[in-house]
Amino acid sequence: MVAGKFRSVTSYRASFTFEVLGNLGSTVLDVLTVFVLFRAATVVGGFTLAEAVLMTGLAVAGFVLCDAVVGNIDDLKKYVRSGTLDTILLRPLGVLPQLVFLDLPIRKVLRVAFGLTVYGVALRANHLDWTPPRVLLAVLAPLGGAVFFGAIFVLSASVAFWWVDSGELGNGFTYGGRDFTAYPVSVYGGWFRDLFAYALGFAFVSYQPALALLGRGDPLGLPAWAGFAAPLVCLPATLVAALVWRSGVRHYRSTGS
């Protein structure tokens, strides 16, 4: 299946090149936006540009890793609407792996490289005081972030099982989550911060690990170990996503077309 997909993708070279560049471009623009905002202010939410870029780097690295693997699941609502999901359910393979490989993410390779580069440069730029726990955290944090984003992608796609016309609703949490994690949580306020940062857990993708790496206290009051424990947040998120996905697949009734 994977080989077949590879051949089909590479046979349209011009489109493929455009897709690679487009994919890369969207992530580059996200990072550039942070730089433009810091042109206007030297400190945003209590953080300098280098510190903020560390958070952006973590968020981007986690997001692109995740998007390269499961980003395609966004199309679930199309499959539910058109009935393509029936063919997928008929095959003797898992539903989730098939959806993932239905669209091979070769076009996303450059973007992953860019995301990891931003993260690497941000780590260098901050002159961190490296200790063994920090090294471990620096490696695990983007992976944890990727798994967490993966859970969010699966969750927001599962909405389509119950509500076919959910349209862009899922984007608010997947791409919204990406944008949320690209900035320090201290810039947000009110119930919006509580909901996204703590109830949904986005604070633990980039903000808390970045604080732990920088050795800074949390202006919002969480203890330092919260940063080191942050990658673990992806475990309950994955569990919830798995449960919702399973009940979604069971709940699925074909459109009948």
């Binding site: 349209y12 011009a14 489109s15 090149t17 455009f18 897709e19 560049l21 487009g22 471009g25 969207s26 623009l29 936006t33 433009v36 905002l37 042109r39 206007a40 202010a41 030297t42 400190v43 945003v44 939410g45 509500w163 016309d165 959910s166 349209g167 862009e168 609703l169 984007n171 608010g172 949490f173 919204g176 944008d179 949320f180 900035y183 201290s186 810039v187 947000y188 306020g189 009110g190 919006f192 911060r193």
Partner: protein, 286 residues
């Protein structure tokens, strides 16, 4: 007729102008009704607009709090909040994203049936798009603004001319956006597969129209170049700047004028491209 036939609008032969206005109006109305059928998607889309509104608003307010003088790009906090929330409301009205209908119809060959109709193709598509924008104005424009007004202090216009100028500017933004999208889609006449240009358009249009951040945060030379040399600020940034009264009255008016020049230019270009395409068009498929 026995009462079962479809009602056909007759174009009065003696009054061609009245006829074409009626046709145009009917097409606008059909565009409106077409989008009115997706009610649930409308609600879901508004929720997403509101989430992004909160995100961008908090980030820009934090920038304002950290900026020297508290006025990044010359906006105060209330102006920034208004910029973000009205921007989220306008996003679907100008509809810069996701229109691939013409490119799809060119690729499949369906565009041939559009060409058989007695209405010029550009006008017909423009009419339907105005109907779409009208529907979005009624359904998608207000929810983000209401949500924003509940959570943040917004700027209220002080000048009498601001609201009428804003309305004109929104219409021009819709026309300008249509012109751009038509041209991007029309590249399919030559390329057959317009996915590449469409992708570049999606990528560039949002950021250069001022969705991610107000363009005034860019260095002056970059902002001026964008305004004069591209139609993109006219798709979102200009109506928003007009509404929040970023500039003195004279420049407020000049911005709308510039937007009008671009909108007219784009429509003329769309017609020219369409005429060229018709001359060389080989319809695909059987």
């Amino acid at each position: 007729m026995d009462g079962t036939g479809a009602r056909v609008l007759t174009i009065s032969p003696g009054q061609p102008f009245r006829g074409s206005v009626t046709t145009f109006g009917a097409l606008v109305w059909s565009g409106f009704r077409r989008y009115a059928t997706y009610r649930q998607a409308t609600i879901a889309g508004s929720c997403t607009n509101i989430v992004f509104g909160f995100l961008r608003c908090y980030v820009l307010l934090a920038v304002a709090a950290g900026a020297a003088g508290g006025r990044p790009g010359g906006y105060d906090s209330a102006q920034l909040a208004t910029f973000v929330w009205v921007g989220q409301g306008l996003l679907t009205v100008t509809g810069i994203w996701g229109w691939t209908e013409l490119a799809d119809r060119i690729r499949t060959g369906d565009v041939a049936s559009d060409l058989l109709r007695p209405v010029p193709l550009v006008s017909a598509y423009l009419a339907v798009d105005l109907g779409r924008a009208g529907h979005a104005m009624l359904t998608r424009f207000l929810p983000p603004i209401v949500a924003g007004a509940i959570a943040f202090p917004l700027a209220v216009p002080h000048r009498w001319q601001t609201v009428p100028l804003f309305v004109i500017s929104v219409v021009l933004a819709v026309v300008g956006s249509f012109g751009c999208r038509f041209l991007v889609n029309a590249s399919a006449y030559w390329l057959h597969d317009a996915r590449g240009p469409l992708m570049l358009w999606t990528l560039g249009s949002a950021v250069l129209a001022g969705l991610y951040f107000p363009l005034r945060l860019l260095p002056d030379w970059a902002a001026v170049t964008l305004w004069v040399a591209t139609p993109l600020p006219g798709l979102l940034q200009t109506p928003l700047d007009v509404l929040v009264e970023r500039d003195p009255p004279g420049r407020q008016f000049a911005l709308v004028l510039l937007q009008a020049v671009w909108a007219a230019g784009l429509l003329a270009l769309a017609r020219l491209v369409q005429r060229r395409a018709e001359r060389k068009l080989v319809v695909q498929g059987g």
